[in-house]
């Protein structure tokens, strides 16, 4: 018996109307997919493919023009801590220290102070920021800021964690390291449902349980892949992964 999926996107379309000339742009057209509990779901697509739009719809920042998005059985109509987001630009509050940033969501949930301290301390450890908890974002490197962003989203223990190209602003080296870090951090979380949006094939192959390929203009579902190999993966060695890799490259090449 299949338990109810965590996230359901049903026949979602999104149209944007430009204010200046009343022209409309169809960002997404008839997109449908489901994400099961505990899955690491990656949406892969070139820029302009509407993957950010999907993310905004799921997070609740915007409403679909048609179709429905439900999380945990409930329709999504506004942002909520149940769908915590990790942003590409980290979006840390500059006037709060790393500690206070991570604590933010807990304060919003009225978690009592004693419990807050315990949770924040735990996550500082998990993301490896011990010793930096009292630094302001301006004093942290890009990679560290992203760790804070991840810790902040995880600390609220949401149903689903949404990540919008979280490693996009990092250099290649740091990015690769952070991908491994991310896997390690998520191991600490019992079966967290993660939705990650990226344009990096390598990232998708390294991290995903399911890869959904989105095509561009308008955004539609091209194909879905399921990877069962345990992580961390040797993406350059496993023949099955190599096959998927090649196909992904072709799809993406045609999609953009």
């Amino acid at each position: 018996m299949n338990p109810q999926p965590m996230l359901e996107v049903r026949d979602v379309s999104k149209r944007f109307v430009a204010v200046k000339n009343s022209e409309s742009v169809v960002a997404l057209e008839h997109v449908s997919f489901t994400v099961d509990r505990g899955e690491f779901f990656v949406i892969l697509g070139p820029s302009g493919s509407g993957k950010t739009t999907i993310l905004n719809l799921i997070a609740g920042f915007e409403q679909p023009s048609s179709g429905a998005v439900t999380v945990n059985g409930l329709p999504v109509s506004s942002p909520s801590w149940q769908r915590a987001v990790v942003f590409q630009e980290h979006a840390l509050f500059p006037w709060l220290t790393a500690w206070e940033n991570i604590e933010f969501g807990l304060k919003m949930k009225d978690v009592p102070p004693g419990k807050r301290v315990a949770i924040v301390r735990e996550y500082i450890d998990v993301v490896g920021l011990k010793g930096f908890e009292n630094k302001y974002p301006k004093e942290l490197s890009g990679g560290m800021k992203q760790r804070v962003g991840i810790a902040r989203a995880l600390a609220v223990d949401s149903d689903i964690v949404i990540m919008d190209e979280p490693l996009g602003s990092l250099d290649a080296q740091t990015r690769s390291e952070m991908q491994d870090e991310l896997l390690r951090i998520l191991q600490h979380e019992k079966k967290k449902t993660v939705l990650l949006v990226t344009h990096s094939i390598e990232e998708a192959l390294k991290l995903a349980d399911v890869i959904l390929v989105l095509s561009a203009r308008p955004g539609t579902v091209k194909k879905t892949f399921r990877l069962v190999q345990p992580r961390p993966r040797e993406i350059l060695r496993d023949p099955e992964i190599i096959r998927v890799n090649v196909e992904l490259h072709e799809l993406l090449h045609k999609a953009s």
């Binding site: 506004s78 942003f87 979006a91 006037w95 969501g105 919003m108 989203a153």
Partner: protein
């Protein structure tokens, strides 16, 4: 810069001062007996400063000026900051008040002096008003800019962590603080500029008055004293503000 380097850099300044002293002390009297009244040597200025300081006169005048600046500034801040936040958040309010601000802002505060003298007479209130009108607009504009400068991503981040409308308001305020502080710094500096002119026209106390009185009484070196006292206070005030900023908003 190390102290020695600093001292070296003051070379030109020292040379100029010495030249001035010599020129004023020896060359001028040779040209004309009363020429020294036009450009007394700096040493005389220093002496006068000491006298005034000792008599307490200097401090009294400085305090009178300071009171006017800070009262006027406070009044402006009490209006400009809340109004600025409101105008920053509400497009409608901003557009409605924009023409009024656009017309009033370019008017130099000094130009308000005659009309305020008519309204308030030669009183401290008149001085407060001049400072008020002079500091209002920089504060207002910087506050609006601060509110507008809030990165929309931060708003989304807050919402995705469970923030409610009242939290968002606190968020906007926090993000606007650096800009508001710039407004405070600018307007306080401006306030000191303005008070001098205002006191020169219509006051019987204060550093501006000191300067104009010195001219009337032909105690020219006192002009230097007044000028430098004001400059020094302005400089110290700014340093204090920077110190406060590093304390209050270290994260900026």
């Amino acid at each position: 810069m190390t102290l020695l380097r600093r001292a070296n850099a003051a070379g030109l300044l020292i040379v100029l001062l010495v030249l001035w002293e010599i020129f004023s002390r020896f060359a001028l009297p040779a040209l004309d007996t009363s020429a020294q009244l036009l450009l007394p040597p700096p040493s005389q200025g220093v002496r006068d400063a000491f006298n005034l300081a000792q008599q307490g006169v200097l401090w009294q005048h400085a305090a009178a000026s300071a009171k006017r600046v800070y009262v006027g500034f406070l009044a402006a801040a009490l209006i400009a900051i809340p109004l600025g936040i409101a105008m920053g958040l509400s497009r409608t309010l901003l557009r409605q008040l924009n023409p009024l601000v656009g017309v009033l802002r370019p008017i130099p505060p000094i130009a308000w002096i005659p009309i305020t003298l008519l309204w308030f007479g030669v009183t401290d209130v008149q001085q407060y008003f001049i400072i008020f009108i002079g500091t209002l607009f920089p504060l207002l504009l910087n506050t609006i800019a601060g509110v507008h400068g809030l990165d929309p991503v931060l708003q989304r981040a807050a919402l995705s962590l469970g923030a409610r409308p009242k939290n968002l308001f606190a968020l906007t305020l926090h993000a606007a603080l650096p800009s508001i502080f710039v407004g405070v710094r600018t307007s306080l500096a401006l306030g000191w500029f303005i008070i001098i002119a205002s006191e020169m026209v219509s006051a019987s106390t204060g550093l501006g008055f000191l300067i104009i009185e010195a001219r009337t009484a032909m105690i020219t070196e006192r002009l230097y004293v007044g000028m430098f006292a004001i400059g020094m206070i302005g400089f110290l005030q700014d340093q204090l503000l920077v110190f406060l900023r590093d304390r209050l908003i270290p994260w900026a």
